[in-house]
Amino acid sequence: MTAIDLGMPARGGLDGVPAATGPQTAKDFKSDQEVRWCPGCGDYAVLAAVQSFMPQLGLAKENVVFVSGIGCSSRFPYYMDTYGMHSIHGRAPAIATGLATAREDLSVWVVTGDGDALSIGGNHLIHTLRRNVNLKILLFNNQIYGLTKGQYSPTSEVGKVTKSTPMGSLDTPFNPVSLALGAEATFVARALDSDRKGLTEVLRAAAEHRGTALVEIYQNCPIFNEGAFDALKEPGVREQHIIGLRHGEPIRFGAGGELGVVRDAHGRLAVRPVAEVGEDALVVHDAGESDPAYAFALSRLGGQDRAHTVTGVFRSVSRPVYDDQVRDQITGARAGGEPDLDALLRGRDTWTVTA
């Protein structure tokens, strides 16, 4: 699915970014730095997926920038042979906003984690989404603090026993997709670190979206939260849990497609056996639905027990893009001709002293 499929304006997320002059391979995007995540970390899979997906975009790699905050996932830019900044905790969206606003010709990516984006950087995340800056945000969600060695995070389930919560964590977690939708996000998607194909599909859709695209990536931390997403990965089990969205298609899942999503009498979304409700009753997914309540309802289908987890593109709609508009205002202000610095300094009320 691409943005154009949804009948959106022709201006895509990568417009204005120069194309590569020759063919590229994943190797072109690998930096000379040794990758230092723990063995078995889900970040490796995401890095490999991004490095192998980047050549598909066909961008001049010097015009690609990765900006990150602090945390395990935020080491990501060091491993990409593009421009990059490993910044400070939680602030990557703010820094990337300035960069994207100053430079229309860059494809700017933010790499962040559940602690970085949703705890210390929560404010910047919601305001970036609200402004709809042309950034692609990859939110690696492992539901734990890894780099500080295993404290619970704002996406950890209630009752999580960690070093900092020996009697169980108390606070209700965020659902990052729900949060993003509440913050007026124009593009929200979710993928699994282990699902290369699904991840690549949403990354591509995100890249082509003009505006802020938030991609939540469920990512396994083998050291501090091993197996958090096992139910979504194990063949024979995962089919019962993962609800994969495809734009324009009925929402249907299960090993044989025996389950589906319907609207109940109150208009709420619910999971029902297809045999019981009939195929015609299934909700046909429309990522371009203007009312965010629909995508929000999808995001609430799965509870903490992860009985159901929705993946794919929840929402992809067109709305004015902040950095485009900032530049448009500058262009508009210049419409009257080149500005005159001397005229500005003089102003209107002057007086002259003669020698």
Binding site: D81, A94, T101, H124, Q329, V353
Partner: protein, 636 residues
Amino acid sequence: MSHDTDVGTPAATPVPDTDGGDVRTLDRVVIRFAGDSGDGMQLTGDRFTSEAAEFGNDLATFPNFPAEIRAPQGTLPGVSSFQLHFADHDILTPGDRPDVLVAMNPAALKANLGDLPAGGTLIVNTDEFTKRSLAKVGYPADPLEDGSLDAYRLHKVAMATLTKGALEETGLAKKDAERAKNMFALGLLSWMYHRPTAGTERFLREKFAKRPELAEANILAFRAGWNYGETTESFAVTYKVAAAGLPAGTYRQITGNTALAYGIVAAGQRSGLPVLLGTYPITPASDILHELARHKAFGIATVQAEDEIAGIGAALGASFGGALGVTTTSGPGVALKSETIGLAVMTELPLLIIDVQRGGPSTGLPTKTEQADLLQAMYGRNGESPLPVVAPRSPADAFDTLLEAARIALTYRTPVMLLSDGAIANGSEPWLIPDSASLPDLRVEFATGPNATDGSGAFWPYLRDPGTLARPWAVPGTPGLEHRIGGLEKADRTGAISYDPDNHEKMVRLRQAKVDGVDVPRLAVDDPHGDARVLVLGWGSTYGPIGAACRRVRAAGGRIAQAHLRHLNPFPENLGEVLAAYDRVVVPEMNLGQLATLLRAKYLVDVVSHTKVTGLPFKAEELQGALTDVIGELEA
């Protein structure tokens, strides 16, 4: 141009009667307009300032207003005032005490009368002197009637009534009509001081362009005030203050905040870089944002961010992209920005941080002035995190200081802190308008190709220029120079992440050496006789009162040398010599001795720290006393 007349009470010289009244010539006058914060005193003062500027006087202003937008009406905390000093010669301060006080209500009278010297002119709006208003501020009896103001030249004018009368025929509601009484006051004072009026009328027509009936009402009130002075007997004398003999050139009046905004525009133009201001509104810095937002045509993007941190984050992101990143704030905002400033130190990117200081700590005194962020600017970050610090001395000097900050940031690839303050931000003075072609050339060269010295053909983002120790600025979009920067310690030259002990030691010292090595002009000392034994050394907005105090000391026969620092980090290289050349060094500051602490630490000189933290600028008179005492002790 005289250097020693800013020394005391004004001299009034009667001149022949030319236009039917007694006209006296003064060399300088200080007027203070005071009223309720809703009375439009700032606008009134501002207009009188423009009239004085248009006339060619030298001038200095001091607006003083509460943090509350509309404090309870008629109360002491709600009093807003605007003091203007204008003269026929160059002056340095808004004046210690007013010669004329205009009080629009009892609260304004009570809050300001203490500053009016005996014999001073007091013009009072009698309409507000009701029992209720008097009781609100604790006047047991009406001071206009009980003889308590006998020491002053009191003029009682029913300004509200007269204004309403003048506007009767406009059909304007009484309440709206009464609101124009500040223009009545302005008209009266304009008549008293023979000010030109066309500019104010033009201003009012533009200000109320969308509501022409209000424009006409204000102009009618303004003229009514003028005519009141002309026709009533109560004002027998008018005054003239001749134009000042300032250096030849074209002038305008300018506030510190406007000068900083223009400096930012000019820095963008002279460097050829787009500018991105990332900021969050905060008193008293917000006007810089407001001004810049109007000048987008110069390639200026203004991002009003969600908080102080995002403001500087956006600015730093833009700098990484090859723009001139700027953030503006006050002390509390600097506290929030500290971590990002540290990142800018580590990533060695150009960045301008403008701190318009106000009273602290915490929220402190948002609308009052103070210089207590110097140590925060110097040391308010984790780790060894040096950055250059500069400070303007006056509103007009803020323009040049901003360009100097930009020069340092762009040349040395470093964040630079500019410390303005509330007095500079809102105060105004004449500005000799520069020719843009004469401004510093700030052009930069981005890195264009690999620079590795090992023949690898790689790009090393931390390979330094041997002269400046600056690292190359390689902006995204440049093929072959893809690199990663960030807050982790970098290996010397290659910029790879490094935890190596010796490398860290080297990098900490290199960052310090780079800032220590910033090329700073030598400090000039003003010592007219060359034999002073006492030096007074200041920084920032204390320049005016220190200079005026020195004039007074010298006029009284004392010997004093004066120097003023624009560069606070690094200090001028001759500062140590200058300090050592005097028997005593007095350092007046609006804090508890922060510059004094730095000087003692670096130069082992036991400077005399003279401090004040009232939220108000020094008065020339009090500094004269302090300096005279030190000179006296030395001679005794």
